[in-house]
Amino acid sequence: MSRGTTAEKAVDERIYEVHELTRVEGEGSLRLRVRDGEVLEARLGIFEAPRYFEQLVVGRTPDEVIDIVARICGICPVAYQMSAVHGFEDLFGVRIDPQVRALRRLLYCGEWIESHALHIYFLHAPDFLGYESGITMAADHRPLVEQALKMKKAGNHLIKILGGRPIHPVSVRVGGWSHVPRVSELREHRAALEDALAFAQETVKVVSGFTMPAFAREPRVVSLRHAGEYPFSDGRIVSSDGVDVSPSGWREAFEEFQVEGSNALHARSKDGKGAYLLGPAARIMLAGEQLHPLAKEALAASGYAELIRTNIYASIVARAVELVQVCAEAIDIIDAYRPPSEPLVSWQSRPGVAAWATEAPRGLLFHRYEVDESGRIRTAQIVPPTSQNQAAIEADLVVAAKQVLDLPHAEATLRLEQMIRSYDPCISCATHFLDLRVEEV
């Protein structure tokens, strides 16, 4: 499970190291150094090679950008498309048909279903049930794993119906869709989503029954919040302590910075208040009143409505509640669906800044593009949720250290890994930047 762990260095100093974190997306490491109960170093190292997407899109048109940024991640390509397309439409003053908007929410539902199902059952549940992987877990919990695979497939198939293929969809366009589904296509998938909804409700019960390691830190949380719906692509960026900016205004409140030892930029708020948490628990804390009635019911029945505020391990419950949310909302959207009268509206490029934040499964994802007079990208900035969560992960490692000191070394290390996995980090998403500085002598 944990490769490269090292034993105690000295009687009063302990080092917990995992050179390659498992069951996370991408390549990262963990290092925690504690002396006499005091944490000297808590670091999430990210050594996956940079992927240069912010340079790859320079010189491209907005519609090309939408297809290129989808390739940043095979789990959350929709999030990348949504942040980009909303930014461009905001800059160009594009007004879309309400059914176009509904289909985009449906596409996002598909992504959250497949992403959350994958994380809960294959990446995180093995920690709670005492298995080294989802594969070994399958032997003893076959019905759960089979159902999880069916649920993931239901999400991927929804993306395929809307986006042309189950991963890296291709039909999202500035102004709408290059293709919209027939009513019958969506209705045919309704039964699979009904099954997924039932299993999501069961999932909340299952994960609520897990034993949560002790942990207490009330983090500062950030997410989108909308007055009339659970946040995907619209609303305001808000925090638990008063940040309130538009989806295009992320840079008014936050900034990126580079940290030694990580190929992903970190992020912080400009008010100096430090780390903040994104993702399912943050969304429920800030926008829980907009949960679907079935998701609200599941959250209340779980008994975790309060604990998800302070125990990061309980994020698995928040993620399961969101599974109920997106399965239920997907069914509602399908039931109300009528093909849009204008699937794709025309638009005119204009120079300026296209910026927007939407909610990826793992949390807030911000894009910013400078568009030149010829309608091409001059510069790009992409701030994924895992980049923003790095500081919160390291802050939680400091708290978790105190909880594991009495455990055997291997068990303590595993517990720390489990804590990191609670964030569902997507390291491959986070390592896309290129900060090239040429020094002339």
């Binding site: 499970m1 490769r3 390659e20 974190l21 498992t22 069951r23 996370v24 997306e25 991408g26 390549e27 095979g74 789990i75 994958l118 294959f122 990446l123 992987s133 989802g134 594969i135 070994t136 399958a138 032997a139 076959r142 794993v145 089979e146 695979l149 993931k152 497939k153 991927n156 491959s428």
Partner: protein, 167 residues
């Protein structure tokens, strides 16, 4: 009833010898086209295997590192499942770092666990040596493509002759 044997082609066309599976399938004889369904799989996904009705035979084609370049390696899928289980039992299994990177033999083993039986089919591996992005097939691998195509065709012929697979 038309019989079609699914051929899952793994690999990435833009990465040197990793494209060998696609190149080999391109050489399959025309008379075989009505009997196969070529499915580009990239990295073999458990969902592809679970979508197959139980007992339905398939062929999995992939480039293999560690073999001599151009060497053709044909085994029943069950053999790969046994190997994955033995490696895991001995603690030598490659650790999947993420869901993006589950090795092929472990995907097959997971399918076997969920189905109570190994997937029915044949693996055709093509030894490769260079998998760098933007490179072409190496000369030994390019030279071995007719033999790889013949191995795939032979595997399909066995199943096409013995199984009636719904299209």
């Amino acid at each position: 009833m038309i019989s079609r044997v699914p051929i899952f082609v793994c690999g990435e066309r833009a990465r040197g010898d990793d494209a060998s599976g696609f190149a080999a399938v391109d050489l399959l004889p025309a008379e075989l086209h009505d009997h196969v369904e070529v499915i580009p799989a990239g990295q073999l996904d458990i969902l592809l295997l679970m979508d197959l009705p139980a007992e339905t035979p398939c062929v999995v084609v992939d480039a293999v590192a560690g073999l001599r370049p151009g060497e053709i390696w044909v085994r029943p899928l069950a053999t790969l499942v046994d190997r994955a289980r033995a490696m895991r039992a001995s603690g030598r299994a490659a650790e999947p770092r993420s869901s993006h990177e589950l090795p092929l033999d472990q995907v097959l083993a997971l399918a076997a666990t969920l189905r109570d039986a190994p997937p029915n089919g044949t693996f055709v591996g093509i030894g490769g040596s260079c998998f760098d992005v933007g490179t072409s097939l190496t000369a030994p691998v390019a030279a071995a493509l007719p033999a790889a195509a013949a191995a795939i065709a032979a595997a399909v012929a066995v199943f096409a002759a013995t199984e009636a697979v719904p299209c």
